[in-house]
Every structure is written in structure tokens, then in C-alpha cells.
Symmetry: none
DNA sequence: GATGAATGAGTCTTCATTCAT
DNA sequence: GATGAATGAAGACTCATTCAT
């Protein structure tokens, strides 16, 4: 009932994936009906079931395809013999932005509709997602080891950076004020500084235990 | 038909809002039925309509309440006569994190279900949202004017920082490895460095036009 | 969602059961749609679900009600101090026929749609059915003990008699050529003779070419 | 479009009939889909339509084949010059049981799914069924004429006997406690006694409170 | 003769909403 | 203010059937 083989069948399958991706991203998985998808594809609603056994299967196909493509698209820097953490991080940021800006629907969907996945499917996608996060964590770990980066907490920093990068798709528009390249540069800058080893005398935040009594700069008291 | 005034009625209204918030946040607006809400409240489905004319009205009430509360909770620094941008930013980050970590469902919902709002409602919430973003932009603008901060693009930086901060709720768990305070400190550090004025000789990213051939370390100008 | 309590609700529930019984009996459970039932009842299709959670629940309600009513309607002869097996059998046959002729749809349905029951429901109905069969078996057992009846095999005879009796509903029509009473008499006669102790010299079965050369007359027990 | 002639085609046709028979008998005509049949046959759903124009045609083919086979399998006793009614009845009972026990699915289906037949098809099968019933009625009529049998009502007795015999398939299992032969003997005994001419003084039915006070024994003809 | 993709009506069930009580 | 029965449209999915390949 799924995975057609003929040329025509495969074409329909791809059109279903494309329509579903767009509609799910626009309105959310739960808010899109099979009829809407079929209408968008240009077939009867029943025809969808020649290609996917379930609405959930469509979602899963989109997400899994996306995550696998993302992972295999990343130009593994170990292969390129690049051992400098800064260079790796720069490359990662640019790769992430390019990829995510090029495929905003896939990214948005894969983030927003995790909760729509049935438990078994969720586990699969979560595992793939963690593989991707591991790439960044490895870079940060390397940078810290090389004393080229300062990280209070690798995990938290990685999540923060990814959230920041992925958030781009929520406001970036092709043809917008900034080109993808300008944005890449801005974010590389943001990210690099966020893990930069502070210069002597340049104190930043340091509030280990208690409500911030003192605030990093000039010792002034800060609200909280 | 809405906004009852009796004590019992007001209590039910609040229970409806609380149940809806939790359910909408967990499963998404479209995936939650009025019956589920009623069941969670402990009331018949029809009773909901004594308090809200529509499922959409419940969503709107939650979102609008949240945004107004967020805005009025921010301790406006102009009132506190605080004119230092760093201190303002530190305060903003801590405020944002505290508030968002304390009310993760409201935050998550207000971000995720914008698309579930009917156009007129969307406009209202968007306006409130922009008011909040403006707070951060004003701080960054001030910081740049004071030459205490370096920002390639105020708007982009604001969005990046907000995405980073708001992303916390997607992984933060009370009782987790890190306390809210530790996280605040880490993020203050991340944010501060991300807009830090680079030290002399500390060049960061600068990739105006081309795919990164070489990577910007050690003061070398890269990719131009 | 099931078992309404108000008067109107209970009335609708009964009308659903009545319509379903008739339609299921006429066309078979699988061939009757919820819409057909709703149309017959005179409500919208969705209203059925205020009274029964599932189509299967309707079937189960009909069958279980029927079997329990059948069992509690049987005038237990032990209570009436009737210890003569012939009289008990006479009474059983008349009871069975009256009851089954009076409720042909219930009987037919309970026999025909056993396969439409989900496993758990099937077990429940099967247990009730066996309780009923046990009544007849007990009578036959008693008759054999009292040497008033001859039975080659209690179980087989009971099944044969029940099949014979229940088969009436497949051709009996009120207002037909025979009254219910005439039929009762005919069947009492058939049944009584089928378990009658054969008279000396009265040869019955004749099996010419096959194994069983001699047939169980003369009180001899045959192959069991 | 139906009745292919090639060897392969004929084989598929037979496999369709066999699969349909089993599935219809198990779950009922209405509950079995063409896809299920195709799956069971090991063929695409569309292929069924090379052999039968309609699902109804499959059912009809099974039923008609069965009824015609049943009728032509009966070893007509007039051909065998057997004029004794007892011997004919013995033979009929054994034939009926053997045939029905050997082909339980066909028998069950032909009984259960009469209602699934469209009117014209129903008429055809009904006519064949009456031909078969006529065989038994003729035997009983002969027996009564020969004063070897006592029958209150030929039609009713015939239906009762057939119901009793046919009911066997609902509980008989190959490999069960009783062999087919033992069952044949038991039923021959039951049937023979049910139409046995009662001995003088052997009272049968006893109907205490109801109309028919006396029961038509002693060779009196009752209600015809 | 078979496939598999398609159709369009139909399946059971749930939806948001209404309203008499 | 709440109930529970009702509606009518819509939900995901299956149906028998067709037909180009």
C-alpha cells in the first residue's frame, strides 16, 4: 500500500510529500486534512493511500527524509582534515544557516511537529536530532580542549546556539533586507563571540550561585 | 454569553483557561477538542460556551493575557533610571529567562499557535509581540550609541538573541542539571559576548560575499 | 458518552436498539451503516454516539440484553418442584419456542452475528449461551438417569434439539398456516420421540454399508 | 470479462472462488473486501475483475455451484429402485450429513448469505434450495403413505429435520470427540424416532395449561 | 491476464456548536 | 451556570470498481 514503484506512482508520491510539507508547515499537522492535501496534489483523497498508509506516515516520511538528508549533507570536517575548532564552528554555522534557510519548511516542520509524532516515530527522529546536535557539541568540546573557546556548559551552549541559528527561519525571507550571506556573517560573528575566550580585563557574567548581586561591568548593582 | 461575573462563574472561567493552556501547549490548538477541555475542567462540553463563545476565543484569551502580562511585568528600566545598556541587557536577559521559565506553557503556546489565530486576532498579538521585541532593540540601539556594544544589525541581533533565549523553554526542566540561576548566568554570558565590542586585534567573522575559503582566525582577513 | 439518564435520552437509546436490531437482523451487522440506523431512528448520525460509543457496542447491548433476558425468563423447573424429566422437557420446548417465536430478530441476530463480536465480547456471549444449553443438557441427563429417555450422547442431542427448535424462526411467520401452539405441539412430539426409549422390536436406524453395523437400540450404549 | 478460458486464467478463477468461500464463510460477505480476497489469492485487486464482474458475482458463483453440486450428488433413490421410506430416510440423513460435514463452508455460506443476494439471484438459489427440500418431503410423504412414519405436518417436519441436520456444521469439528460416522448414527436415530409411529400407550407431549390439550398421536392427521 | 494508481462514494467516528431543560 | 442530547459538517480511512500500461 505504500512505496509505489512505477514512474507515475513515484511522481505522485513526491507531489504528496511536497504538498504535505507546505501545508503542514503553514497550518500544522493536526490542522491539515487529507482532503486538503489531496486537493493540493490534484487527486482524490483516497489516492493518497496508494502511497502512504496513514497521515502519520506522511509526516514521518517528511521528517525522517529531512533529518537523514541534513546529516548526510554535513561536510564532515574530520574527512577534510580540518582540526581547528574555530574553522569547524565557522563552517558549521554557515552550513546550518545555508541548509536551514534553503529548506525552511522542512526545518520548521521538524521542529514544530515533534509532538505530533507517535511515540515510536518520535524516538527515531529524536535519535537523528541528537546525532546532529552532537556535531556541534563535538566542535565546542574540541574548542574548549584547544583553549580556543570558553564554554560554561557545552550542552547548554550547544542548545543555545542551535536555537539561535534555527530561529532564523522564523523571520528570514528570501528577497528580504539581508542576503543569506550577510546573515551568515552576522551569525558567525554572534556565535564566535558567544564562545570567545574573554580577553584579560574583559569580565562578562559570573554569577555562580545566587541572585546576581553584582553585575559584570563596573560593579554596578543590577536588578533581579 | 462570555465574561460571567459570579464567583463560581469566574472560577470556572479560570479553570477553562488553565486546562486549555495545558492541553493546547501539549498537543496543539488544532489537536485539542472542546470535549477534552471540558473533561479536563470537569464540566460538560456545553458549559464551556457560558464562558467563551468559541474555541478561538479561548486561545485568544490565553495569548492576549500572556502578552499583556509579559509586557507589564517588565521592570521598565527607564522608570528605574537605569541608563547603562549593559546593565539593561543583563536585566532583560534575566527577566526574560525567569519569566519564560516560570511560564513555559504560555510562552510556548504564544509562539507555536500564532498560525492558529484568525487574522484579526493575529494582528493584535503581533503588535504586542513587537512591543516586547522593541524593548530589546532599544537596549541594543542604546548600547551601540554608547559604543558599549557591537551589532552588525540591530533587528537581526535582537531576533537572534530572543530565539536563543526563548529556546531555553524547549529543553529546560525544573529539577534538571542546572538551576535557573546557572542558566541565567550562562545566557547572560553568551549574550553579552555576542554583542561585545571586539578587542583590538580580535577580528571575528567577516565574510561579505563569498563561500568561506579560509576561516577568520588570527586576525587574518578571510573570504572577501 | 453512553448510557444516558434523562427520559428523552433513554427513549432515544431504546429506539436505537430497536432500529439496530431490525436492521442487523435483516441485513447483517456488517452491512448496516450507522447512518442507516440513525435514519431509521430519526436522528443525525452523530447523535448515536451520545448513547453508544461504538457500532460494536450496539450489537453487544442487543445480544447481551437478549441472552440475559432469555436466561431470566426461563421458569426454572427446580423452583417449581418439577422433577419429572418429560414434563421438564415439554416445558423447555414450549418455552424455547414461545420465546424464540416471539423474538425472532433477537434470536436470529444472536446466532448469526457471533462472528461480528470482538473477542472479549464473544467470550461473554458464549458463556451466556452455554448457560442456556446447560438447561437442556441437565434435563436430558435427568431423563437418562430416570431411564425415561434414551440419549446416545447428551451433548450432541442437546445441540441437535436446539438447532431444530431454533431453526423454527427461519421459516415461521406469525399469521402463517400454523399457530404457535400447533407448532409447539408438533415440536414437542418430534423432540419427545427423538429421545424416546425405543420399544422392543422397533428398529430405527439402518446403516447398510458402513462401519456401525448395529444401531444403538435396546438400551445399549453406542460409540461415544 | 468473465469466464476466462486459458489454463492459468481458470486456475486463478478457482483460487478466487476458494479464497472467497473461506473468507465469506469466516467473516460474512459484507465484511470481506475485494482487496482481502485479492490478498488471499495473491493477486492485485484489479485482477479479480478479469474473472468476475462483481463481488456479488463471486458470491453467486459459489452458491449456485454448491447447490447444483449438492443436487446432483444426491444418489437419487428412484434410480436405485429403493422404495422403502425408512431406508430412503436413512440414506438421506447420511448423505446430508456427509456432504455437509465435508463442505461446511459452502453449506454455511449458502445458508447465511442468502440475504446478501440481489433479488434475482436470490430467486435462483431459493428455487434450488426448494428442490433439495423436496427430496426430504417426498420421503416423508412416502413414509406416511406407507404408514411407516408419523408426521403431524410434512413441511414442518422436513424443515425441522433439515435444521437439525444442518445445525451439525455449527459445532462439528473434524478430529473432534465423535467421528462423522458416530454422528451419522446418532442423527439417524434421532430422526428416525422423530417420525416413528408411536407405539400404543406411549404418550409423548404433555401440555398442561394451553389450548392443545391432546396431542395428535395415534396416527391422526393434524393440521395440514 | 495482471498491475497498481485512480476514483468517488461510502465507512465509522469526532468535531464545534446549539439549546431545551 | 450547567447538563446532555442533538446537529451537520468534517475527520481519517476503506470500498468496489475502472483502466492505462
Amino acid at each position: 500500500m505504500a512505496r509505489p514503484s512505477s514512474i507515475k506512482g513515484e511522481q505522485t508520491r513526491q507531489r504528496i510529500l511536497a504538498s504535505s510539507l507546505r501545508l503542514f508547515a503553514r497550518s500544522g499537522y493536526a490542522a491539515v486534512s487529507m482532503r486538503e492535501i489531496a486537493l493540493d496534489v490534484g487527486v482524490g483523497a483516497g489516492a493518497l493511500y496508494n502511497h502512504f498508509t496513514t497521515k502519520q506516515h506522511i509526516l514521518m516520511a517528511i521528517m525522517e527524509d529531512h533529518m537523514r538528508a541534513l546529516l548526510s549533507a554535513y561536510p564532515d570536517s574530520t574527512k577534510t582534515n580540518q582540526s581547528d575548532a574555530h574553522i569547524q564552528l565557522d563552517a558549521f554555522v554557515r552550513f546550518h544557516i545555508s541548509y536551514h534557510v534553503a529548506l525552511p519548511d522542512e526545518v520548521f516542520l521538524s521542529y514544530m511537529e515533534l509532538r505530533a509524532l507517535e511515540p515510536d516515530n518520535f524516538k527515531i527522529i529524536e535519535a537523528l536530532r541528537r546525532n546532529y546536535e552532537a556535531i556541534l557539541k563535538d566542535i565546542l568540546t574540541l574548542g574548549v580542549q584547544q583553549k580556543q573557546m570558553a564554554c560554561d556548559d557545552i550542552h547548554v551552549s550547544a542548545m543555545a546556539i542551535l536555537a539561535m541559528l534555527t530561529g532564523i527561519t522564523s523571520w528570514f525571507r528570501q528577497q528580504g533586507r539581508l542576503t543569506r550571506h550577510e546573515i551568515e556573517n552576522i551569525y558567525v560573528s554572534l556565535v564566535m563571540r558567544s564562545v570567545a575566550v574573554p580577553m584579560a580585563g574583559q569580565t562578562l557574567a559570573q554569577n555562580n550561585e545566587q541572585p546576581a548581586k553584582t553585575i559584570p561591568i563596573k560593579g554596578k548593582k543590577a536588578h533581579v
